[in-house]
Amino acid sequence: MGNYLRKVWAVFAKDVRAELRTKDIFSAMFVFSLLATLVFAFALPGKLMEPKEVAGVAPGLLWVAYTFSGVLGLNRSFIVEKDRGSLEGLLLAPADRSAIYLGKMLSNLTFMVLVEILITPIFGVVFNYSMWNPLLIPVVLLGTLGFAEIGTLFAAMAVNTRAREVLLPVLFFSIMLPVIIAAANATTALLSNRPIEDIAGQLQFIAIFDIIFLALPVLLFELVVEE
């Protein structure tokens, strides 16, 4: 087990180190989410006057920004591996292949969460609306975990297809809809200062989603990467 986790960690650490050096993935994700925020602001100018209106649209837009920038990063994470054949290098290693999945999943999760930490306050400033609520942290973390779990598996699938970058969002969004619905709903409740009981169901739901879709990709990863 310790051995297994060391390998998960090795894959994760390798991704983070390469990313620290180039910042390719992170900067693309961040700039994209920033642009998305600005586009929302310009496209919905009237909504920005009334706090009530903002409360209605902001949570949904926030999750749109999260998911779209997330897909950008997910795509990169496997295309980088494919370019020099290093994905095969990983598959040749004497490790259970799920360890590779988990390592990549953790690095994707880290990049997404970092972008979210940066973009959320900016989003609040642009929409002139307080985004601060400590309970938002579990909602965002659980939701993003779901994105990373499904997204990493699908990115590994999409990288072996003709359409590659185009296919991932198509697969990803259709499966992620339940999490997006629940997370956006919980965010709305929190930002309208509704009590915590109002989001317990959503949190539980996303947690169940996360557990199911951690187990399935771990089992299925070998199937999708082998010939």
């Binding site: 699938m157 499966i175 339940p178 199937l223």
Partner: protein, 242 residues
Amino acid sequence: MATAIKYTRPTKGLGLSNVLFWATVFSWPISLIFVLMAGDDVNLKYSQRIFYYHLPANIMCFLSFMIYFIGGIAYWRTRNRKWDIVMVAGLELGVFWAVIGIITGAIWARYAWGAFWTWDPRLTTVSIMMVVYISGVMLRSSVEDPTRKAALTAAFGIIGFVNVPLVYFSTRWFPKGEHPIIFGGDSGTPVGLEGFMFLTLGVCFVAVGLLFGWMLLARIRLGQMHEELQSRRMALEGMENE
């Protein structure tokens, strides 16, 4: 060395596929007669009749996705290509019946609720499912290597099917809709079905089910023929090289 190519004739006579085909041809007019004879619903009047096809269509849609799911699990465990044919059949028929279900549902909704579309939990679930499985079709079409194609289809089918109850559950956080609950249930607008209506529904189930069965067999047969064609083409290319 020429390989002898044997030609298998398509089944004639009382093959299951033919039985299903003719049973479908006979059962549909009968179901239509039943539907026309069934009494008008008090509130919904004439439009209610489309429901007799709407419900079976949705059940067949679900059944198709279940077939796809089972085929996916079987492929995952065995890596046997025959399951790929089953998966495709389930996938494509599922999308087809989802479209039928949504169209008939929209027609009903237009007359019952005055709008083609509402964000009702069941409607939302079916439409999300349809999107999921259409993206599954896209996934398939963008892979060349048949082995990889089957593997990715299987993985997606398993994930997609497990996702269905989650989708349904998540729709509770949508504004409430007013889809009628046909059997039991404690929310929505109950629609009472009595005597003859039940019988009509049963007849329609049989008619739609027969059509479904025939289509399923036809799609599987098509898949098998496609495989056979490929291997014959390979055999021919092999002979040209000799």
